[in-house]
Amino acid sequence: MKVINEILDEAIKNGFITKEAKDKLLGIIDIEVEAANLEADAMEEVAMALENFASEVDKAVDKTEEDLKTADKDLLDDVKETASQTTASQ
């Protein structure tokens, strides 16, 4: 903002603005907007990385639940088999 104010002060003092000063003002404005967008892009990229992390944790927990259910089902099959085999052998 300091450089912008200097250019504007000079323009007010002279009562006109040179093409060079105008181009400089526009260039500075574009740089400032670009800087803001760069920061915003960085924030959104980090947010996306965090959302991916959360999604991976979700999947890991879901898979854990599935695996536990499989262990439970396998146990039932094993115990049932033990029961049916011993019943049949009696």
Binding site: L50, D74, V79
Partner: protein, 251 residues
């Protein structure tokens, strides 16, 4: 223009609160489901042992007929049930181990992604700084880099999470040896205790990881909110100024 809609930051705040509430509900629901599965595993071992003792209820549960076994046969059946329960316990140990590994992998990928995007952004700042110098703007990089340092800060609980995979093979051998040292009811009791222990450890791990997930989503919501505000601020500060400067007549 007045649209009558809630301000964007308020809308995002509400969305984040809803996401956090859902996260909390999700955690409670996951804990409930996990309790239910572990309860089911313990019940099957109990029913199997009861079946060995001739229980008609246990036989019905297992879809077979009740049989009064002799002492030796009953011991043999109970040992088979304990062996099946031990295999289930081992399977849960492996499941917990895989959960930790997936969590470690997810964290490593997050850190790598942070580093990758941070380096790319740093290169953009250097380029921007070089172009800014042409217009007489110096020290533009420093304040941006200060703000970027905060952006690239990994949420504390994720950064500090240091999960170590246990030595699964040794753990299994040790527990098997301990169970083999017991007989009869004591062996069944020892197995049930091991299942309770692994249940607590697995649930604790899931709860911790869900906490990391919630922190990640909360921070992501906050950053998306800030990104929108930053773009809006630049648009407001410089949008009109650019139009005004553009319209100036030069001499």
């Amino acid at each position: 223009m007045e649209t009558g809609e809630a301000p964007q930051s308020t809308t995002l705040e509400t969305a984040r609160n809803i996401a956090l509430d859902k996260g909390s509900e999700r955690r409670q629901e996951a804990a409930r489901r996990m309790n239910s599965v572990f309860g089911s595993i313990k019940e099957k071992i109990t029913k199997g042992v009861d079946f060995a003792l001739g229980s008609p209820d246990a036989a019905a549960y297992l879809g077979t007929e009740a049989v009064k076994f002799g002492k030796e046969k009953a011991t043999e059946v109970r040992d088979s049930v304990v062996e099946a329960g031990t295999r289930a316990w081992e399977s849960v140990i492996d499941t917990k181990d895989r959960l930790i590994q997936r969590g470690i992998d997810a964290k490593n990928r997050l850190v790598a992604r942070y580093e990758q995007t941070r380096d790319a952004t740093k290169a953009k700042v250097v380029d921007l700084s070089r172009r800014a110098a042409v217009w007489g703007l110096t020290r533009i990089a420093e304040p941006i880099e200060d703000r970027l340092r905060q952006i690239y800060e990994i949420p504390a609980n994720i950064r500090e999470w240091q999960a170590d995979r246990e030595e699964v093979k040794a753990q299994k051998q040790e527990t098997r040896a301990r169970l083999a040292g017991e007989t009869g009811e004591a062996r069944v009791k020892a197995l049930q205790e091991e299942i309770v222990r692994i249940q607590e450890a697995t649930q604790g791990q899931v709860d911790t990881m869900n906490g990391l997930r919630d922190a990640a989503l909360a921070r992501a919501g906050e950053l998306n909110d800030k990104a929108t505000a930053r773009r809006e601020q630049a648009k407001q500060n410089f949008g009109k100024a650019r139009v005004a400067v553009q319209s100036l007549q030069t001499r």
